[in-house]
């Protein structure tokens, strides 16, 4: 098995509306190492959510994956059956959504909704199963049971065990008195508690990958900080891989190891968190940095917004999607989208300024060449 848990190759996802094809994700590729947190940042409509919903194949109709491969742990998720996909959702790939206020079903208890996912996916471990098998009196039957277990077949977790597990994870995410609170309904939980419950739900089947789609956007700032701390703790303790989608660069800096910057359905720049924050090489990434307020005491400085507005994905501009707003735009930028130029072995930027024939512009260094992938 490779060191990458997830490999997205040339993914295109479009929405087929009556106005025409809206290309939400336009040919993106990336690899995700096991055990890290990848941040995907971009403004509304940049394709960050759709690209991650594509991974678990939950893009709302009329959206469809048009092209590409999504290799998760050796399986191409675009090719498997719906049934197989349902087995992976929740158990191997879990998702945390944006708005905790509406993401829990109001008519069922937290317990019901947590146990449901656990009972669907979790089987008891081999050790537990063998322990149980030893208690079987009839030797003939015991032998058979052990053989089954050796072949990797163990029974599904029962309701009581699922409840224990649910309570364990609620405790882990910091719900006080989980034994009693678990019996409550979502409306009896505050926003922060609901998001914790949803995080517990995502963790409960020990997934290999968690996709968090703006999990803090709908929360107020103090609760945001708590949820971020929780995610950091989880990453440390459980060693899960996390994809964290946000439009908030501050959150990215706080949490992530690697960053992908998306714009107009394409990847503009990717690199380690240090690359993106200290050595941004794409005009769009630079623009993002200039539009964040920086707290320097006593210093008055105007924010520099990126002029213009995001591209219309129904009729995306030819060439680089950022060209209408880019102050460095050259002729080639209007004709052809830039490939990802490798800047270092961690960083690459989809900008023609990296090409060896491009004029020198202050603050941009020339790349070592085009990335092969």
């Amino acid at each position: 098995m490779s060191e990458y848990i997830l490999e997205v190759k040339n993914l295109r996802t479009s929405f087929f509306t009556h106005l025409g094809e809206v290309q939400a994700v336009r040919d993106i590729s990336y690899k995700l190492k096991k055990g890290g947190i990848l941040g995907i940042v971009g403004e509304s409509g940049s394709g960050k959510s759709v690209s991650s919903l594509s991974i678990i194949r939950l893009v709302d109709s009329p959206g469809k994956i048009v092209h590409g491969e999504i290799n998760f742990d050796g399986i191409d998720l675009t090719k498997i059956s719906t049934k197989k996909m349902q087995d992976l959702r929740g158990s191997e790939i879990a998702m945390i959504f944006q708005d905790p206020m509406t993401s829990l079903n109001p008519v069922y208890t937290i317990k019901n909704q947590l146990i449901e996912v656990i009972m669907k996916h979790v089987r008891i471990t081999k050790e537990q199963a063998l322990e149980e098998a030893k208690k079987i009196k009839d030797l003939e039957r015991q032998k058979k049971a052990i053989k089954r277990i050796e072949n990797g077949i163990t029974r599904r977790i029962n309701k009581k065990e699922a409840l224990e597990r649910a309570i364990y994870y609620l405790k882990l995410v910091g719900i006080p008195e989980p034994e009693t609170r678990i019996k409550e309904y979502p409306h009896q939980f505050s926003g922060g508690m609901r998001q914790r419950a949803l995080v517990a739900m995502a963790l409960s089947c020990e997934p290999k990958l968690i996709i968090a789609d703006e999990p803090t956007t709908a929360l107020d700032v103090t609760i945001q900080a708590q949820i971020l701390d929780l995610l950091k703790k989880i990453k440390k303790e459980l060693d899960t891989t996390i994809i964290f989608i946000t439009h908030d660069l501050g959150v990215i800096a706080e949490l992530c190891d690697d960053v992908i910057v998306m714009y107009g359905g394409m990847i503009m720049e990717k690199g380690s968190v240090n690359d993106i924050f200290y050595r941004p090489q794409h005009p769009y990434t630079k623009g993002l940095h200039q539009s964040i307020p920086k707290d320097v005491v006593g210093q008055k400085k105007r924010l520099v917004p990126i002029a213009g507005s995001p591209p219309d994905l129904l009729n995306p501009p030819k060439g680089c999607p950022f060209n209408p707003r880019c102050r460095y735009a050259m002729e080639i930028c209007l004709e052809k989208p830039a490939p990802l130029f490798a800047i270092s072995n961690t960083q690459s930027s989809a900008c023609w300024l990296q090409d060896e024939n491009a004029p020198d512009v202050e603050g941009f260094k020339k790349s070592g060449g085009v990335l092969s992938e």
Partner: protein
């Protein structure tokens, strides 16, 4: 919840008292009386009749006598059907009406809700369009048209009687005419409610948990989408079980819907109050049941005050 129900029941007695009182005095305020005829009765006959039924007493005394009898469960004699008491008329009329109403209610629930769900799941396909066209017809065509059409068609078919409730098949016409509108309405309501719920975030969460589509629809979506349907079904049951004058007239059913309208025209004071009282009691019960059903479906609604 029990406190709530008990409180509601106590309050409903007050409501019933007000209903009876209002109807009693309002009926007396309408010109004419039970013994007014196109060709007037001889003065002496009318006076004797009025004396026999106690209508010569002062109004307030009549009221007290009536209420006194009412508390013992006696709804008094019918003025226009002298052979029967109101209790007897209700006892024969209610079962006729209720049988037709109950069959209609059952059909609406077991057909209307599934049709709505199917329509929502197959939204914008030919199945959906088919169901919705039928539903629109059901809502727009009034019951007397459906009833008359049915009779027009059924009179050529020997084994379908066109009136009365003599055979099981004879329920078909009245049930369709009575329940057509509500069936169509429930189907439409369920469809739109289901479509609304399917767009909710918690449905996406359920899918992201890896639940089968069956579980997503029937566990997570259906319960939520039934909340508005229950609101409609409660009063609907009350309306259907208390019958429809039009349907009972067309299909010659001696139900209370027919009694009610006839009794008002005939100024049959006691029968009017009797039927009104039955309607009121039934409505109150249904509204109470809707409240209880609500709190069972939606935990956010708590029955306490």
């Amino acid at each position: 919840m029990y406190n709530y129900v008990i409180k509601k029941i106590l309050f409903s007695f007050l409501t019933l008292l007000i209903v009876v009182t209002l109807v009693f005095f309002m009926l007396r305020a309408i010109p004419g009386g039970p013994f007014t005829r196109e060709k007037p009765l001889p003065e002496a006959t009318r006076e004797r009749l009025e004396e026999a039924y106690g209508l010569n007493e002062p109004l307030f005394k009549q009221y007290l006598i009536y209420m006194g009898n009412l508390f013992t469960g006696d709804l008094g004699p019918s003025f226009r059907k002298p052979a029967y008491s109101v209790n007897e008329l209700l006892a024969t009329g209610i079962p006729q009406t209720a049988k037709v109403g109950l069959i209609a209610v059952i059909l609406i629930v077991i057909l209307g809700i599934p049709l709505g769900v199917i329509s929502a799941l197959k939204a914008n396909t030919s199945i959906d369009y088919g169901v919705m066209i039928l539903a629109t017809v059901g809502i727009t065509v009034p019951s007397f048209v459906i009833g008359s059409l049915f009779i027009l068609l059924a009179q050529n078919v020997a084994w379908i009687p066109v009136g009365g409730l003599t055979k099981p098949i004879s329920y078909l016409g009245p049930v369709v005419a009575l329940g057509g509108y509500s069936l169509a309405f429930v189907a439409r309501l369920t469809r739109s409610s289901m479509l609304e719920v399917l767009r909710q975030d918690y449905i996406r969460t359920a899918r992201a948990k890896g639940l089968s589509e069956y579980k997503v629809i029937f566990k997570h979506a259906l319960k939520n989408s039934l909340i508005p349907v229950v609101t409609y079904i409660g009063p609907m049951i009350a309306a259907l079980m208390t019958g429809s004058f039009v349907v009972e007239r067309i299909f010659v059913i001696n139900g209370i819907g027919k009694y009610f309208t006839e009794s008002i025209g005939a100024r049959d004071y006691t029968l009017v109050i009797g039927v009104t009282l039955f309607y009121a009691i039934f409505y109150i019960i249904m509204v109470l049941l809707v409240d209880v059903a609500y709190s069972l479906i939606d935990p956010r609604i708590r029955l306490s005050k």
